[in-house]
């Protein structure tokens, strides 16, 4: 009994440590004090102010565009790569598998620095022009998330009956149709989680963004600011804009709602399957 209570306390303690900061942040998004910790009384002011803050809105737009585009590109490349490797000879597949592992465990700073050097080098000696732009930033983010797409698609391929693709061909599907109608639906959960992972990675990336960004996107002639680079830039001069608290609260709520929806969907699905199984047993 004591053991059980102790276990309960332990779990709640950990959950509190995890969620307390977010709860505090959410609470302080309803007061407009500039410095964190001051309570100026309850107000919704920060929320309309957030949407009027040009700087933050531009950074948010940039961040979302980059996250979406880079996630799409890495999902496309990672998925086709995983499929290609899966149907290749064993030694090739093993090599690709190991090569995609390295960027995952590698320090991000190493990747960021090497990309920067690559772009500088190519700009100076090959293209004879300054390369840093939206495109270098995009390449940086794709390189960052591509291996994660690969490792989320790979297990789905391994779980799949390898004859499915052949079965589709056998029934008259061209390789492309077989890919679209049979292979893709099978690995879709892996592809989706790879896509979501890419978005998350891109959204809160700072190091690679800071190193590889150039001018463009919503910043026009100026350097592209993402949310992370913007915060970093502002806290050097002044406190974090209080509107940020409202923004992070919104982001957290969006994510929380998404997670709840996914869980509900899964719950419904497993129940659905169970009822089918029972129906079968009843026969």
């Amino acid at each position: 009994m004591v053991k059980k209570i102790f276990g309960q306390i332990y779990i709640w303690l950990i959950l509190i440590i995890m969620y307390l900061p977010i709860l505090i942040l959410m609470a302080f998004s309803f007061t407009d004090a500039v410095y964190v910790g001051q309570w100026n009384g309850f107000t919704f002011d920060l929320y309309p102010r957030l949407f009027q803050n040009q700087e933050i809105m531009i950074a948010l737009g940039n961040t979302l565009i980059i996250a979406l585009v880079s996630a799409l590109v890495s999902t496309l490349l990672g998925t086709t790569g995983a499929i290609g490797a899966f149907y290749s000879k064993k030694w090739f597949r093993k090599t690709i598998d190991s090569l995609t592992q390295i960027p995952i465990v590698n320090a991000e700073i190493v990747m960021a620095l090497s990309l920067t050097i690559l772009f500088v080098f190519m700009g100076q000696y090959i293209f004879q022009t300054q390369l840093f732009s939206f495109w270098t930033l995009l390449i940086g983010h794709v390189v960052l998330s591509l291996p994660f797409v690969y490792i989320s698609v790979k297990p789905k391929l391994q779980q799949m009956d390898p004859s499915l693709y052949e079965a589709a061909l056998d029934l008259g599907a061209t390789p492309r149709t077989a890919l679209r109608k049979v292979l893709l639906p099978e690995i879709l959960p892996g592809v989706l989680s790879g896509f979501l992972l890419s978005i998350t990675l891109s959204l809160d990336d700072f190091i690679i963004s800071a190193f590889t960004r150039g001018t463009g996107l919503l910043n026009g002639e100026a350097n592209i600011e993402t949310l992370s680079t913007l915060i970093q830039a502002t806290i050097k001069k002044r406190p974090v804009p209080p509107e940020m608290r409202a923004l992070t609260t919104i982001i957290f709520l969006v994510v929380a709602v998404a997670v709840v929806l996914v869980s509900l969907y899964r719950f419904y699905q497993s129940k659905h399957k169970k009822s089918h199984a029972q129906e079968r047993m009843g026969r």
């Binding site: 052949e166 056998d170 599907a173 109608k181 079968r280």
Partner: protein, 519 residues
């Protein structure tokens, strides 16, 4: 004249993977409507051959013709051939209906359309959903799954999934249905049922079935034609009856069912010698040829002459022109008994409905047309009754050869006294140890006999010229035969010495080496 009934013709097809030949010079014609089974153990190339017909593999060499058209390089989706896969390969994200309709939905058929200006144009169009509905319903009816259209694949039992897989293939009305061990994952009872159902389906649909299995019983039950394969090569093609009754070689005989197989020698016209006796037979082979003899257990007839008795001299004398043996074991198998009868050291497996008891002395009768004689591909001389003498020499009947007995125990060596010392220091005395000896044909050297020397001697009984060398059959006084390949010419009835280098004699110990251990 081209045979118009021939649906598929496989000629000289080989498949090599990374230097390993999986299918070797495969030649086969299949008649329209036939039920053909590729039978063989795993790794014999039967599935690879099927995959080449389906189009999943391209032959390294050779051609595959379908209705006279070369389809060797045609991709699978362009072949009028459908496959039922070993683990069904049903699409898990689709329900039963969509699985079965998969092929139909992709199919396009030419439709003639009259345009406004009166011109007729042929267009390729998808099937209407009504046609698809009808076809799917019909296919599901054939496999007895009418009511399961909307079910998810994961909710089906193994047998039901199997049926969906068959429906999904036959709904496309293929010219050939390929089945890759389709019943392998089912339990025995289900398998038996499906065997009959498949056979019935074959009769109803009238299309050609090519079936792959390693189960000889399945092959015998269902097929019109069986193709027995081993190591990428066809061993025999024939009806189940042919294959069972007239196996072409010992491999086929052994694979297709339980049987007695003996080394034998032709002694005269339609006389064969095995089990130390001469038998009349119906197959005609050259005299002195080494052959394999197959006798099916149900073809051996037993007659009791004494109970619980050793074969004594009186019995031996009384039945001296008969083959007599002792019943050594008895198993009741439901419809018949299975006995092992010992004749000397040789075992004979017998199936009989009559009851005998262990220890009964019986006359063993084998009718001439139940003795199936098969040509032997000779590459080695094998001597199952050899032994080691006190000088560590190999004795084969009246011949004595130097041999290397350390090969009987890995890592062993001989000490000065001639005992075998194991890697763990244990000592073995191999005097009188029974061994199985093998000598390759090319490793026997024959020389003119020198009467002054103590040699292994034999007489040349027969000579066959094999193109670039001679093959001699040499028989010793004790009727032991040695077959040898030699470049040198000898004459029949020459007396020769038989020599084998000790490293060329392969020995296998019969029984455990532990029993030869000494202190």
């Amino acid at each position: 004249m081209e045979d118009t009934n021939k649906i598929i013709s496989i000629s000289n097809v080989s498949k090599v993977y990374d230097g390993v030949t999986v299918v070797d010079d495969f030649n086969l014609d299949i008649t329209k409507g036939e039920f053909v089974t590729f039978l063989g153990p795993s790794g014999c190339g039967k599935t690879t051959t099927l995959r080449m017909i389906a189009g999943f593999e391209t032959p390294s060499e050779g051609k595959i013709l379908l209705n006279g058209k070369d389809i060797t390089k045609l991709p699978p989706y362009k072949r009028p051939v459908n496959t039922v896969f070993q683990r069904y390969a049903l699409f898990p994200h689709l329900d039963v209906y969509d699985n079965v309709a998969f092929g139909l939905k992709l199919k396009k058929v030419p439709v003639t359309i009259t345009k406004k200006n009166g011109k007729k144009v042929v267009k390729m169009k998808h099937l209407s959903s009504k046609t698809i509905d009808e076809k799917v319903a019909r296919a599901l009816k054939i496999v007895d799954l009418e009511e399961l259209e909307d079910r998810d694949i994961s909710t089906l039992s193994g047998g039901q999934q199997q049926r969906v897989a068959i429906a999904r293939a036959i709904v496309n009305e293929p010219e050939i249905l390929l089945l890759d061990e389709p019943l392998g994952a089912l339990d025995l009872k289900m398998r038996k049922e499906m065997q009959l159902e498949l056979k019935e389906m074959h009769n109803k649909l009238g299309i050609t079935f090519i079936y792959v299995t390693h189960d000889q019983e399945e092959a015998l039950t269902m097929s019109d034609t069986i193709v027995v394969m081993k190591a990428g090569q066809i061993q025999q093609v024939g009806t189940p009856k042919d294959i069972y009754n007239e196996p072409k070689n010992a491999y086929v005989a052994n694979f297709i069912g339980e049987s007695n197989i003996y080394n034998a020698t032709m002694m005269g016209k339609k006389v064969v010698r095995f089990l130390n006796s001469n038998f009349a037979c119906v197959d005609d082979f050259p005299i002195n040829e080494k052959v394999d003899v197959v006798i099916r257990p149900e073809d051996v007839d037993l007659k009791r002459i004494a109970r619980d008795k050793k074969i004594d001299d009186a019995l031996k004398e009384k039945y001296k022109d008969k083959l007599i043996g002792v019943v050594d074991s008895k198993i009741f198998k439901g419809i018949h008994y299975e006995y092992v009868v010992l004749k000397g050291k040789n075992e004979i497996i017998v199936q009989d409905t009559k009851e005998f008891n262990v220890g009964d002395v019986v006359i063993i009768n084998i009718a001439p047309d139940d003795i199936h004689i098969m040509a032997k591909e000779l590459s080695t001389n094998t001597y199952p009754d050899a032994y080691i003498d006190k000088n560590n020499k190999l004795v084969i009947s009246d011949c004595v050869f130097d041999c290397d007995i350390t090969q009987l125990l890995a890592g062993s060596k001989l000490d000065e006294e001639g005992y075998l010392i194991g890697p763990d220091g244990k000592k073995y005395d191999l005097n009188d140890a029974d061994v199985f000896a093998q000598i390759n044909l090319g490793d026997i050297e024959i020389l003119d006999h020198n009467p002054d020397e103590d040699e292994n001697v034999g007489v040349i009984i027969s000579i066959v010229y094999k193109g670039d060398h001679y093959q001699y059959l040499i028989r010793t006084k004790e009727e032991e035969d040695f077959v040898c390949d030699s470049d040198y010419a000898f004459n029949e009835n020459d007396i020769v010495s038989i020599n084998v280098k000790k490293e060329n004699i392969k020995l296998t110990l019969k029984g455990n080496i532990q029993k030869y251990e000494i202190e």
